[in-house]
Symmetry: C2
Subunit: 433 residues, 2 copies
């Protein structure tokens, strides 16, 4: 790219038609002039400043991505993580806001991903280190997506629970336990007060616990628990599988009484989720395997809130995500950004229920509630329910007791004096906090 | 985990049934004792050392992942990239080989990904930094996959080319050019000697270049070029799109004369590729958007050769990958590992054609050929054909002339004295080398 070509990849926000673009926030470290690097980034990810030989044409105005803002944060001695095969020169840390014309690719998740975190982003000349920090969509783009079918409000209607968090639990042992004892402990957890008993994200349709058998047993156990407790319950079945089996597994599991379905979003692919969204009769819940592989590094990869927003776009009603505390190795501000991404205005795309998880129990509920700052979240212990020393029914009861304490502004230790399940939970799990 | 539980996650290779496991090579940086960290890694990614309350059971023998080898490379002053929320203690860089029972999840790509690069890998206690370096499959696992339908040999049969590299070219301008002029320059490139003219990975089914129209024009142009040159040609159409449209787009494009199809593997999802593989009538070619987001960091994420192997498993016949040289910011040994992963023995899973790409032209062909060390590769210029100063026909001719020079052991500069297209290519592209 020559110096005279650089201004063609810059624009002022008021100069462009806002509805024609999606907006991308990048952090990058460049070797060489930041303006040239940012122009290259736009060129590589949209139209590569191409013209046919012998023909005077310029696709940039209609098809070019454009830098709306470029901020040089500071000059660096070297890039922050080593990358081989880079060029020499002065090194800068920068942030850029880029407008990318969405008509280049249309309302297609795989093509959107290819445009914003594809070759044009990660192989732009002179930019060895780059992270896609955030993404924003105009109404015109959002209107071409269906989004969640149920959302927070739909989930609350199914459960008839409006004034408190939704209590999930991951049935454990997760791997190896046959369907019969698995359904028995799920049943116990509903009796104790869980709203949603769920499969682990590692447990899908296996030879030793086939989905048709497991969902039938859990569906029956759910209905029994509903009759006995008089309140609605959800069995959340993990139907993560090959793309050409998920519609069939949806039908089997739902017919058998699973009334919400989980998919490991990135392993299955967001586009497959969008396909299932068109078919589903029940809420869809996302789990997060794979995402940390590209989101954990501070200065490289893709920020997890981008994936949270794309999961909403694909049609998930609730998103399980790495939560608070040391265990999940995720900075608190990142957890909060992901929660915000579940709530924030995305036009007609419904708000979805965030489920920040990680080594939770009755002991951690207050902290999570205070950090979220709302009752619109899901709480998802594993051990905190199924490893409770008095068993899963008591484990679930301990969570509900903790919430009763919190909502009546009573210290849980005080409330535990008259509630033995909570007392046992505090004893068992406090050291793990 | 208590100290007494650690040995249950270690095994000697001769103690396990080799066919029941897949094998994983990890690099990790742990805080605390390496043996405990490696045991945790196994526990988290398979059965979390769980037993029901009050029941004496141990799922580890059948369902537990096991450390076969653990090598402590060195003690570190600190982890090599900052990760928030980690624990305190001595820090070690380690490598481990882990055997993971594939019956835990079965022959399903999304569940395989969830097991080997999911929560259990990236959220294992005390291991903030980890990279999945390699993966190996036993025959019993491979036998449950179809793999490539054509492979290298199938592609060569279609083209009737057996003794040289396959010459691809990315038709440019890639974004914004309407189908008619786009097909005209594709046609020119076939006349000049390209085997395969292809869509850019960013160009799919768009409003300004719909697949039905583009594939019809390119299909007709391909047949015309075949008639005029007397040799088979391939139009490689990019059908990257939502999962529930790729079968339909396959049918439209193939009916119209596209005789190979490209998909952006990770954005579409490997499982969707496996679905298409069952249906396809033509070879499937992978492109690499998104992969760098988790593969570039030396010590974190997932090595690209893991994805290369999974792409073979999913059924791709050829894999376009970041190639040699500064432009693609990929270490040479990583490019070579990816090429090797296309060739190496995977039972009945066919060998696939590696296409290492990045700013290639007649000038770079010799270097790529020498590094690959075989004619079993694809060469994929963009500008080197479509930005050739005499036009795409001359651009394609310059590549073929460069190969004539190489295969007759003539310096390309000497050969260029009597071949003006090659001469012009050397003049135009040498400075870019």
């Amino acid at each position: 790219m020559e110096a005279k070509d650089i201004p063609g990849f810059f624009a002022k926000p008021e100069e462009i038609d806002a509805e024609k673009y999606i907006y991308l926030d990048y952090y990058f470290e460049c070797i060489g002039e930041p303006e040239a690097a940012a122009a290259h980034l736009c060129s590589e990810q949209s139209t590569a400043q191409w013209k046919r030989v012998g023909i005077d044409e310029d696709f940039r105005e209609e098809f070019g991505a454009k830098v709306l803002e470029l901020k040089v944060i500071k000059e660096l001695d070297e890039i922050s993580c080593p990358v081989k095969n880079v060029f020499d020169g002065k090194t800068y840390a920068c942030k850029a806001k880029i407008a990318h014309p969405h008509n280049n690719f249309g309302p297609r998740i795989p093509n959107l991903l290819s445009a914003v975190c594809g070759e044009g982003t990660f192989f732009s000349p002179g930019i060895p280190i780059i992270k896609l920090l955030d993404i924003h969509f105009p109404k015109s783009y959002l209107n071409q997506f269906e989004g969640p079918k149920f959302g927070i409000e739909g989930l609350r209607e199914i459960l008839n629970v409006y004034d408190r968090p939704i209590f999930f639990g991951v049935i454990k042992p997760n791997i190896g336990l046959p369907p019969e004892p698995f359904s028995e402990i799920g049943y116990q957890s509903w009796l104790g007060g869980l709203d949603i008993a769920k499969d682990d994200e590692m447990l899908a349709d296996t030879s030793w616990s086939p989905t048709p058998i497991r969902s039938k047993l859990l569906g029956a156990a759910r209905e029994k628990a509903e009759r006995e407790t008089g309140v609605p319950k959800i069995y959340l079945a993990n139907i993560t599988d090959e793309v050409d089996r998920i519609i069939e597994l949806h039908d089997i599991a739902v017919e058998n009484g699973a009334n919400a379905l989980m998919l490991n979003a990135m392993p299955v692919g967001l586009s497959a989720v969008r396909m299932l969204r068109k078919h589903t009769k029940v809420p869809l819940i996302a789990h997060f395997p794979f995402t940390a592989s590209f989101s954990r590094m501070q200065h490289y990869g893709i920020h997890s809130q981008v994936i949270t927003k794309l999961q909403r776009l694909a049609g998930f009603d609730s998103i399980i995500m790495p939560g608070f505390g040391n265990r999940m190795m995720t900075p608190e501000d990142e957890v909060l950004q992901n929660i915000k991404a579940c709530y924030e205005d995305m036009g007609h795309i419904k708000r979805v229920l965030p489920v920040p998880g990680g080594s939770d129990s009755a002991v951690t509920l207050k902290n999570v509630y205070e950090k979220v700052g709302s009752t619109d979240f899901g709480f998802v212990p594993g051990r905190g329910v199924f490893g409770h020393p008095m068993g899963p029914k008591a484990g679930a009861a301990s969570i509900r007791q903790a919430w009763e304490a919190i909502s009546s502004a009573t210290p849980i230790e005080t409330y535990a004096e008259t509630h033995e399940e909570l007392k046992a939970a505090i004893h068992a799990f406090s050291k793990r906090k």
